[in-house]
Point group: C2
Chain length 409, copies 2
Amino acid sequence: MALIVQKFGGTSLSDPERILNVAERISAEKMKGNDCVVVVSAMGKTTDQLISLAKDVSNQVNKREMDMLLSTGEQVTIALLSMALSQNGWEAASFTGWQAGIITEPVHGNARILNIHTEKIREQLNKGKIVIVAGFQGVTEDGEITTLGRGGSDTTAVALSTALKASKCDIYTDVTGVYTTDPRHVKEAQKLAAISYDEMLELAHLGAGVLHPRAVEFAKNHNVTLEVRSSIEKERGTIIKEEVTMEQNLVVRGVAFEDEITRVTVFGLPNCLTSLSTIFSTLAKNNIDVDIIIQSMTSKEITDISFSIKNDTLKETLNVLEKNKDLLKYDHIESETGLAKVSIVGSGMVSNPGVAAEMFTVLSNNGIEIRMVSTSEIKISTVVNQQQMLPAVNALHKAFKLSAIPIRS
Amino acid sequence: MALIVQKFGGTSLSDPERILNVAERISAEKMKGNDCVVVVSAMGKTTDQLISLAKDVSNQVNKREMDMLLSTGEQVTIALLSMALSQNGWEAASFTGWQAGIITEPVHGNARILNIHTEKIREQLNKGKIVIVAGFQGVTEDGEITTLGRGGSDTTAVALSTALKASKCDIYTDVTGVYTTDPRHVKEAQKLAAISYDEMLELAHLGAGVLHPRAVEFAKNHNVTLEVRSSIEKERGTIIKEEVTMEQNLVVRGVAFEDEITRVTVFGLPNCLTSLSTIFSTLAKNNIDVDIIIQSMTSKEITDISFSIKNDTLKETLNVLEKNKDLLKYDHIESETGLAKVSIVGSGMVSNPGVAAEMFTVLSNNGIEIRMVSTSEIKISTVVNQQQMLPAVNALHKAFKLSAIPIRS
């Protein structure tokens, strides 16, 4: 008898009918003789509705009270799902984050899990019950309710898999798996049978949106095998694990993309050891999320730094830089919006020189100008004009033969 | 500096605008220099909506999961009200039942409060914060979420008043006080300046609906002075305390009524010492709420027992009686629905013989047939046909001169 952790997202639980469908998926796993621990998100748009209520009573953000408010969303789902399972003849017990012993650091809105006291869950599993746990939430040692940030239910599922030494962690979602690129925009997109943690991390960070990056990191660190699969379709999904056999010796596993990117360039910084750390520490302190960073030296004394941000943080970024001009000692700033990021990801790149060159050639042949480049061992990102994003993705998807992967299902 | 407990019901908190209004009422109390502990119910129809969701996923009742589900309602309100108070410039901290240390017996759906650990609330009050507590809910020693039953937020408020030795407990609601009868149905209904715990108890049990009976009992036992008042209007409400001076030597303080009553008669029970206790213990064990009980002996060996229940518990009542036929040894059962209860309440009855006779005469003169009668020292209840309920109430209100009380406001 194996212990399986199953996570269902909000879209899979948006109404009573879908909750009953999820109960059936759980029943099927239980019928195989497995122990089941189920992690759920808030129903459909509940979280957004609660945030909107909060905005109606206050224009300030009170993070403690926001956690108090939002954590009710998953609590509603666990109770309803537990009832739906009883209806199907199974014994189930639901637990909020604090009841499940999910201890987090004392931070509101974006807490990290420190520890899970699994006694209560074990006790119910030993009685043969299905255990339903509210995702996204935990409690501090002092009894304060915390949340793990958007997508945190994935993290709850992986953390529970680790703490309970589960055989498997199934992430049920509204897509059937991880694709070579976004199938909503590229019709040749293919579902991958498997992908490594690192590749998934690069894809997640780049906006694939299927799995929360922190959850993938957690899974990698604790070697938890994940499967991303559909809560509606019965087909196999995509396995995420450490070592993935290359399919047809593919060098590239996927093409990711993200629009609404802005480039900011800071000119004339003093070329000293602390320049880079000062500028990005200042931005981080103001919660500005910077993605690609490029430095180019223009002389021995001064340097220019470019970085990319999301369009909607431009105003604040410029404010912060302006306020700290005396500290940072730069000359002037330029910014350019209307950009997009297109990246190729694959562990195979490490041992294949020339992948970057091939990518640049494909883009150039398609008349696409590259504005910024950033590379890691398993990823190459380019920033291009937003209008050229989808043509770039399609060209790369085809050039790296991603449309032709034989898929098992 | 006094400590005031304020309780606001769901109607007073049904939307963001009303929540902001409640925040202003609390601000006003705080401005006087008082410490405030606020107890709230779920917003508007939230509880009903949650119950309806539960019915959509299951036709069984799982009381543990129902408590898990319903307790989210108050948790949403405490967070929003706390945010609204921050918006008004006050520091506030919200607490769920378990965070507020409200320990209940291990019963779901209708738990009694055993104890309140007030340390956390005291700590926040000492910091000058307004404390907002989720009404209606508590936690067992084992960490299971419980609820106190409908209207339980009143109980939370009174229990907190006792535990914190509050100077006063204000129950804010959608009516301006306690009336001689329901003003929605009887236009001559008058607001009472004051009423005793016992009178209020009789009125509450009889469906006046302003205050939960358990809360009044709790207040009586711990001598907590309550004031029932409007959350919108600024006028004085009705004080509820031990001794109330009679206004104009009125014998009757109010006329209460309740529809959807069913009479059940159990025929041919063995006339032995244990018959009554066995039958009502069996019903109580199955959580069936019995109101009026009447026994009439038909012979030395056997007896008949009639009792009244709410219409919607008839099916379960008959099931329970049927299942336990061997234990109870009765002959057969009859039931009659479509009834209503009409009662007069007043401490003055104790020293005024003939009040019952007067009541029966008034009803008889108005052509109203009495189906059951039950009396206590301060109350006479009659069961009549449901169609005759309001005519009976109007006739009694007039006959006992309740329309003419001079009211201070």
